[in-house]
């Protein structure tokens, strides 16, 4: 039986050019959702926008209108720029003393400011129509901490959880739910290309489900949260990590 409450709805997916975002676009389309995809990285399917820039967000909203579902995937441990839109991931763990203020600020902007700006742009339309589902992307780095991605990324994703809980309270009376997904080790093509992708067999064996996650594993949870099954879920952070970390 397909998930109920998806067909005919309109979604905006950010960070949609690759990896988890691209998989979410495909999944929602399969559920007959009208999907708008955006990314700073140009592919033939996305509206190109730099979501750290409020002007770009405003231009995006002129094209998208009022989505029912807002899926904020944009971000990553290395901030993209307009020049380098799909940056490689580093090959080794990022330690505190490796990071300068510029990296700190750019990763906070790419992961946290983007979600703030996009929510600020589209939430009022959801409020006006008395319906909305917002799904933000946190990370296991914010839940259990991380030994590789760096404090800037973990802090930004922790910020996403606070933003999610606060927006859930603020938008709840308008029938808008706001949740976050905290993925664990998900083998996207970009992670596979980095040394980070070579998770040791011992690590994978230590996971209760004994495997890395896939982008499709995450897309299913997004679909669930947007469907009627997610109707009463709000303010929650869903840990999707094969049992690596169970949450608070």
């Amino acid at each position: 039986m397909p998930l109920e409450g998806l067909k005919g709805r309109k979604a905006l997916v950010t960070g949609a050019a690759s990896g988890i975002g691209a998989s979410i676009v495909e999944r929602l389309k399969r559920e007959d959702v009208q999907v708008f995809a955006t990314d700073i990285h140009a592919t033939h399917e996305v509206i190109v926008a730099d979501l750290t820039d409020a002007d770009d967000v405003e231009k995006l909203s002129a094209r998208v209108g009022a989505p029912d579902f807002l899926i904020n995937v944009a971000g990553g441990p290395v901030a993209p720029t307009r020049q380098q839109t799909l940056p490689d991931l580093p090959s080794k763990a990022l330690l505190l003393e490796d990071l300068d203020e510029k990296q700190w600020a750019s990763v906070i902007a790419a992961n946290l400011t983007t979600a703030f700006l996009v929510c600020r742009e589209f939430a009022p339309r959801m409020k006006a129509r008395k319906f909305g589902r917002i799904v933000n992307f946190a990370s296991i780095a914010a839940r259990r901490g991380s030994d590789r991605v760096g404090v800037h990324y973990a802090a930004a994703k922790g910020g996403i959880i606070g933003l999610t809980k606060t927006l859930a309270l603020e938008l709840g009376p308008h029938n808008v739910t706001v949740n976050a997904i905290a993925p664990g080790f998900i083998k996207t093509p970009r992670i596979e290309a980095a040394d980070w992708g070579n998770a040791s067999a011992a690590f994978l064996e230590s996971l209760p489900l004994r495997r890395a996650g896939t982008p499709d594993d995450i897309a299913g949870v997004v679909a669930m949260l947007c469907s009627d099954a997610g109707g009463y879920v709000s303010g929650a952070t869903l840990d999707v990590n094969g049992g690596w970390y169970f949450g608070p």
């Binding site: 299913g220 869903l238 049992g243």
Partner: protein, 260 residues
């Protein structure tokens, strides 16, 4: 054909009842295990078995019968629970009036409530595990927002032992996730807030107040109680491949009442 067992599904207007109907729609053979035999007639497409989940031998018999009949178990949903209406003697009675906390409940309250809410899940999971392990599958347990925030003194319709037992269900979920993960069995939990089930309606009819056991309805950020339908849809999604990489997790469904 996949086979699912749902405990606590016979009462109409309950989360378990709706879960059973939805698992049928997913194309599964559904076994309903419940003490409330009066409800079996309304679940004709399911195989209903009288079962006292607080009695380990009754649960083992039920699982044995299910396997004997259908040869396999793919899904176990533990919906049974509550602070009252959980023994054959009081199945249809009204909720007891007054607050039953840990410091003022009877030892009998404690034992009965912990047996129905926590022992029951342990018995069912333990009996079903050897069968789930064969081909993989999913267990979904139902906890409660009470496990997150407790039952405030003065509340009626729930109890302190219930809050503690449901916290135990969350711990049991994690432990089982570790033990069964390598066999492709995922174990997750849903922690509902105030849900418009038959039980809530009976509490409200008795107290005449616009509040669930966990607090006033007006304090729910989403400004409504949850429906049995959406809660059941969430439980069913945790049984399907949509959640293929989730295990050991408790999903809170409480209208933003308590963000864990």
């Amino acid at each position: 054909m996949k086979v699912a067992i749902v405990t606590g599904a016979a009462k109409p207007d309950s989360i378990g009842h709706e879960v059973a109907l939805r698992l049928l729609k997913e194309g599964m053979q559904v076994v309903v295990a419940d003490l409330y035999e009066e409800g079996f007639a309304a679940l004709k497409q399911c195989v209903c078995m009288r079962c006292d989940v607080a009695d380990s031998s009754s649960v083992e018999d039920m699982v044995r019968n299910a396997v004997h009949r259908f040869g396999r178990i793919d899904v176990l949903v533990n919906c049974v629970g509550g602070s009252w209406g959980i023994t054959r003697k009081d199945l249809l009675s009204s909720p007891p009036l007054g607050f039953r906390g840990l410091t003022n409940c009877s030892l009998d309250d404690w034992r009965t409530i912990v047996a129905a809410n926590l022992d029951s899940v342990f018995y069912a999971a333990r009996a079903a595990a050897p069968h789930l392990r064969k081909q993989g599958g999913a267990i979904v347990n139902v906890a409660s927002i009470a496990a997150r925030k407790g039952i405030p003194p003065g509340s009626e319709g729930s109890s302190g032992p219930y809050a503690v037992a449901k916290a135990g269900v969350m711990g049991l979920t994690r432990q089982l996730a570790l033990e069964l993960g390598e066999f492709g069995v995922r174990v997750n939990c849903v922690a509902p807030g105030v849900i418009a089930s038959g039980r809530l309606k009976r509490v409200m009819a008795l107290t005449g107040k616009e509040r669930g056991p966990e607090g006033p309805m007006s304090s729910i950020p989403l400004k409504r109680v949850g429906t049995v339908d959406e809660c059941a849809a969430l439980i069913v999604a945790l049984c399907t491949d949509d959640t293929s990489y989730m295990t050991g997790v408790t999903v809170d469904a409480n209208g933003a009442s308590y963000a864990a």
